[in-house]
């Protein structure tokens, strides 16, 4: 590769994750995951339901622990990284506290981390201005639209300046137009802050539009099928979607996903897998 050796933000070696090991309902959620993510890289995890993309994200964030394998975040154990407040998290639901105003929501992590009141207010206002909600600081979450709520959630995740941003289908509940706008905004924020972002999504268009690399995953057991490098130049904007290279990438990822989904037509009684291509 032309790029010189960069800092590795996240490194996963031989990660396995088994839910309910030994029990009847044992599920191999992830099998032999190997992945290195550079600092400031924007990585999308894409794949059908049950491919373990959210599980992988939650392993990185130390919300769950791997059954086997070695996972390092900024050279540390994930638990250490969590205690060092290295993670900002954004979920599909904005999960704002409805009893707190917008600015108080953004200030919550800062309160927990013991920032002074003036520092909290300053940072919250700066973050809200970055997501273009400076004028809504004293509104309550229910007074905002879904897209605005999600922007507050992003502001909150970035308020304490974590090095890694973990996003689990953050725009999954938004309509298509809002989603495209949010994609643009997120890219803008990423270019400003240079966070390492792991972005879980169901949308091929979104994954291709946003990321440096797209990790295509397949289910049963969850594993990485392929990692697609996306060389579309930044900054990306509305015109990016008209670029033939963009369409090639979308088609490429779609084909890879079709292979992955093909194994969904497995007959559980026989335990045999019937490929979608095989049926053609």
């Amino acid at each position: 590769m032309a790029v010189a050796a960069k800092d590795i933000a996240i490194s996963a070696k031989g990660i396995h994750k088994v839910f309910n090991p030994g029990a009847e309902e044992e599920v191999i959620a992830l099998q032999d995951i190997n992945l290195e993510i550079e600092a400031s890289e924007f990585i999308s995890l894409i794949g059908p339901s049950g491919c373990g993309k959210s599980t992988l994200m939650r392993l990185v964030g130390d919300l769950i622990q791997p059954t086997a394998g070695e996972l390092l975040v900024n050279g540390k154990m994930p638990a250490r990284a969590r205690l060092d407040r290295d993670y900002g998290m954004v979920f599909q639901a904005a999960t704002l506290y409805e009893w707190r105003s917008v600015t108080k929501n953004v200030q919550l992590p800062l309160e927990i981390m013991g920032y002074s009141k003036s520092e909290r207010q300053k940072r919250a206002q700066a973050m809200l201005e970055m997501v273009e909600l400076g004028a809504f600081a004293n509104h309550f979450p229910w007074q905002l639209s879904g897209g605005m709520q999600q922007r507050v959630a992003i502001a909150r995740a970035l308020a304490f300046d974590p090095s890694v941003l973990l996003m689990d289908e953050p725009f999954g509940a938004l309509d298509e137009f809002t989603r495209e706008r949010m994609n643009l905004e997120l890219l803008k924020i990423w270019e400003q802050t240079r966070k390492t972002i792991i972005f879980v999504t169901h949308s091929i268009a979104e994954a291709v539009f946003l990321s440096n690399r797209i990790v295509v995953m397949s289910p049963r057991p969850g594993r990485i099928t392929e990692i697609v490098r996306n060389t579309l130049p930044y900054p990306r904007d509305f015109n990016t979607r008209n670029d033939p290279a963009y369409h090639d990438l979308v088609a490429n990822v779609r084909d890879l996903l079709r292979d992955a989904v093909g194994s969904l037509s497995a007959d559980p009684s026989s335990g045999e897998y019937v490929s979608a291509q095989g049926a053609d």
Binding site: G61, D62, L63, R82, L83, R85, Y87, G88, M89, F91, A93, T95, Y97, E98, W99, R100, L108, P109, E111, I112, M113, F140, W142, F160
Partner: protein
């Protein structure tokens, strides 16, 4: 531009008019029911010991008000109302306070709250009022503590159960968020669990406000000082002075409704963000 005095006055009038139109059907129904009651009693010539006329109840009530206001007179009805109010209120504070406290303590340890919940739910189904004679023995029949104890036990369990639910039924992702901030359990308690429990606690307090008055009056049916509403009702009904008995029922209703309204106001004060109040704001 600031609104002029005239604009402000007209908007005030408009808002009063809107409220009146909103409450008009309710007021109309109340007036209608009372009128119908009066008319039926007159037409069918119903004896006062079966059902007194609303006008007779009202006249008796006004007489009691006059007695109460006169410096050298005393109104047993108002004395009774005061006594019963304090029993209900005291029991409410002790029972609800205890319920919330126990819930906060037990929910700190999941095992403890899971172990106590079945007992609390079972106890909640027990007709606590049946213990009233026993409480009379324990605390003394004329001691308000015997009625307060009944009220406290009645409101304790629903408050505790609801509070535990509110503290434990927290959104998983909000807990994960707290985990990602490396928040301490105490922090999670104060920043997440307690605010999350407030709507649950207040719905319990609203139920408890009604239960506490019912508990106090019914406990008094089993005996108590002369000047309490329960005793007043049984004695006046026994003496066939039904207009008097009905004024006591009226007072009990007024206290019960006021109690409920106070809880409602406190609720709006403490959680103006809650879904139920958004349209009103």
């Amino acid at each position: 531009m600031a609104p002029t005095e005239l604009q402000r006055t007209t908007s005030l009038i408009a808002s009063i008019r809107r409220r009146l139109t909103y409450y008009l059907p309710t007021i109309a129904i109340a007036v209608g029911v009372i009128l119908l009651w009066e008319v039926i009693v007159v037409i069918f010539d119903i004896q006062q010991f079966l059902l007194p006329k609303p006008s007779a109840i009202f006249a008796e009530f006004m007489l009691q008000v006059d007695l109460w206001l006169a410096p050298d007179e005393r109104s047993i009805l108002f004395e009774s109302s005061g006594a019963t109010f304090w029993e209900a209120f005291g029991g409410f504070i002790i029972g609800c306070g205890g319920g919330i406290l126990v819930a906060l303590i037990t929910s700190r340890w999941t095992i403890v709250s899971e172990a106590t919940m079945p007992f609390a739910i079972a106890a909640n189904s027990v007709p606590i009022i049946a213990f009233a004679p026993i409480m009379n023995n324990w605390f003394g029949i004329t001691n308000p503590a015997s009625k307060m104890a009944i009220v406290a036990v009645i409101v304790f369990f629903p408050t505790m159960i609801n509070t535990v639910r509110g503290l434990t039924l927290v959104d998983v992702e909000q807990l994960e968020l707290m985990r990602s901030y490396a928040a301490t359990p105490a922090r999670i308690m104060f920043s997440l669990r307690i605010p999350n429990a407030l709507p649950f606690i207040f719905s319990a307090l609203r139920v408890a406000s009604a239960l506490s008055l019912i508990g106090a009056v019914v406990a008094e049916f089993f005996g108590g000082p002369r000047a309490t509403l329960g005793v007043y009702i049984t004695q006046e009904a026994g003496a066939f002075d039904f207009a008097k008995a009905w004024t006591a029922i009226l007072m009990a209703s007024i206290i019960g409704i006021s109690f409920y309204l106070v809880v409602l106001l406190a609720e709006r004060r403490l959680m103006p963000w809650h879904v139920a109040f958004r349209q009103a704001g």
